[in-house]
Amino acid sequence: MTEIAFFPQGVIDQVSGRALMLHGDDIDTDRIIPARFLKCVSFEALGNQVFEDDRLELGGSHPFDLPVYQGASILIVNGNFGCGSSREHAPQALMRWGIRALIGESFAEIFYGNCLALGIPCATGSADQIEALQESVAAEPSLSWSLNIQSQQFQSSIGSWDLQVDSGPREMLLSGRWDATSQLLEHDAALKSAMAALPYLNNFVASVP
């Protein structure tokens, strides 16, 4: 699960695998990864710590612990998932557990952006669609699903749902340009001219380094 090689890379046009779901609105980043685990110098251990407090409370019956959901890669949630702090630890923890796509009614803004930066699409659907999907997954955890980023369809042998992936992020995933760092580095010449025009870097530079 912590193998770098298996993390999202390049063009992402489809995410396939088994699904699991979590019920409830407003699941915040503190629940996804409790604050005490932020005291780390690498993200590696986070996959085991994801939802730690909720899992302890449920003593083995949390979806992330149930044997049927081990190896699942698509997480289906309800509204405002990922609210709270800006910590990237939250999507990192989900990714390191094995999640490669999220489907929900809505996602918190910063969380959504953090997911995209890791190459994890967040698709949205109506409350009815999500409920139907959650029921299908619960009824048959072994079903294989696939989320097509281009057509925004989520399908399995039992049917197909039309979901939404916002156009900006969709384009970024399909072109493989979701990795912000390399994009930013491409514009170094423009960066230099922006720097050359800034008064505080040129006309009145700080007095002492």
Binding site: A35, R87, A117, G168, L191, M195, F204, S207
Partner: protein, 469 residues
């Protein structure tokens, strides 16, 4: 100002924004540095990157290394190695300039009007008090800024928060921002920058403006902002990194040109009257659950439907009865410090209350300066002795009990009066610990009385008519 920093358009419609000042600390930078290394990249502009250590440091004997906590030690030594490796200035423990990142950058004159400032910490909104565009970023963006001195960002809408009148005696910038958040809620600022303006804001010192902008994020706004003015320039002049001589004149001319027009159009605008604001205390588990010290905990039916579920959770967690008074509520721990209220003027306001009085029996009260410079300045005025004589502990600088990443923590169900910015469940280190947010003067008063107290009753002499604080 935004346009000046714009480098390019990014796919997905965001802007590549140049970052003029990148502040880093030990908690959110290590993963960013290792990602940099994984990608074979280096730091683009180490001279525009400044580091300090604040979150995990103990506030007693903090220069004894290695720290008792091996994880904390690992975080600090990782930061030290990264700074040495990439040539980044580190304001380390005992350097004379270490402290909470949002305290040291302004006091060193690093934060200036018209800059873009980014830091892997949500309270970066603090720096907007100088008329800069300053916002908190996630670890993946810290990596981006290290690698490219820029990041992908969507332009924010601006809500102007206009404050008329003047704060009354015993009412501080902290009360003003708690009142604003209480009125607008914790989500109203999402997608916005909060620009504070009006006569009451003009009258605030730089340190008070920083308190205000610091907590913009608690109202959901990623940035706080105040137009630069004479107060800003006076604060900056003579600071270590401020321009000097001719360069200073040029700087002031440019900074003055950045001021947003009185009649500019804003995406939204709200008005407050400073004179009507009382000392404010939070009773719940979000910074918006605040009331004036002489009010009672709101009952369920006085709240809107959307506020009720979180209110019910708060009654249970805080163990407070709806309709009960907040004044007189006993507290266990009193904490004065943090990037919201750990500056010299905050410590002075608390000291004015502590002077000649004594902390109530059984109360643990401690004062944590926001930086080494704040500590030295306070000591030069004798505040350390004053606090000690009054029964408060005088500690070394750091984030301390603002959050649970160092030895300063609540225990069990303890309830704290705290000058920090977050009262989330478990924020202060105990998963059942409780936090009441208030101004440093109110915390000092709570320590004296052993319970939540209206600080104005202790300021009777100072608050005579015609006298402002």
């Amino acid at each position: 100002m935004w346009d000046l920093h714009q480098v390019a358009e990014m796919p997905g419609g965001s802007t590549q924004l140049f970052v003029g000042l990148h502040l880093i600390h030990e908690v959110t930078s290590p993963q960013a540095f290792s990602a940099l290394q994984d990608k074979g990249l280096s730091v683009r502009c180490p001279e525009l990157t400044v580091a300090t250590v604040d979150h995990i440091v103990p506030t007693i004997n903090q220069q004894n290394r290695p720290f008792a906590d091996p994880l904390a030690e690992e975080m600090l030594s990782t930061l030290e190695q990264n700074c040495a490796k990439y040539g980044i200035a580190l304001h380390g423990l005992g350097s004379g300039s270490q402290g909470i990142v949002h305290v040291i950058a302004p006091e060193l004159g690093l934060t200036q009007p018209g800059m873009t400032v980014a830091c892997g910490d949500s309270h970066t909104s603090t720096h907007g008090a100088f008329g800069s565009i300053a916002f908190g970023i996630g670890t993946s963006q810290v990596r981006d800024v290290l690698a490219s001195q820029s990041l992908a960002m969507n332009k924010l809408k601006v809500r102007r928060i206009w404050v008329d009148g003047q704060l009354s005696c015993g009412v501080y910038a902290k009360d003003l921002i708690l009142h604003v958040i209480r009125s607008l809620g914790v989500k109203a600022g999402v997608g916005y920058a909060y620009e504070f303006a009006g006569p009451a804001i003009d009258a605030l010192s730089m340190e008070e403006r920083m308190t205000l902008c610091n907590m913009a994020i608690e109202g959901g706004a990623r940035c706080g902002y105040v137009n630069p003015d004479g107060v800003t320039f006076d604060y900056l002049q003579g600071r270590l990194h401020a321009p000097v001589a001719d360069a200073w004149q040029q700087a002031v001319a440019w900074w003055s040109s950045l001021v947003s027009d009185e009649n500019a159009l804003f995406d939204d605008e709200v008005h407050f009257d400073a004179a009507s604001i009382a000392p404010t205390v939070t009773w719940g588990i979000t910074p918006a659950q605040g009331i004036a010290v002489d009010e009672t905990v709101p009952t369920l039916d006085s709240l809107s439907l959307s506020e009720r579920p979180i209110a019910e959770e708060a009654y249970r967690y805080m163990d407070l009865e709806p309709g009960s008074a907040i004044e007189g509520l006993p507290v266990d721990v009193c904490f004065i410090g943090s990037c919201t209220n750990g500056r010299l003027s905050d410590l002075k306001a608390a000291a004015a209350i502590a002077k000649g009085r004594h902390v109530a029996k059984g109360i643990k009260a401690f004062v944590v300066p926001g930086s080494e410079k704040v500590a030295r300045a306070a000591e030069a005025e004798g505040l350390d002795d004053l606090f000690r004589a009054a029964g408060y502990e005088w500690r070394e600088p750091g984030c301390s009990m603002c959050l649970a990443m160092n030895p300063d923590r609540l225990d069990g169900r303890q309830i704290s009066a705290s000058s920090s910015n977050r009262n989330f469940k478990g924020r202060q280190g105990s998963s059942s610990g409780r936090t009441l947010l208030m101004s440093p003067a109110m915390v000092a008063a709570a320590a004296i009385a052993g319970q939540v107290t209206d600080v104005r009753t202790l300021l009777v002499k100072d608050c005579l008519p015609g006298k402002s604080q």
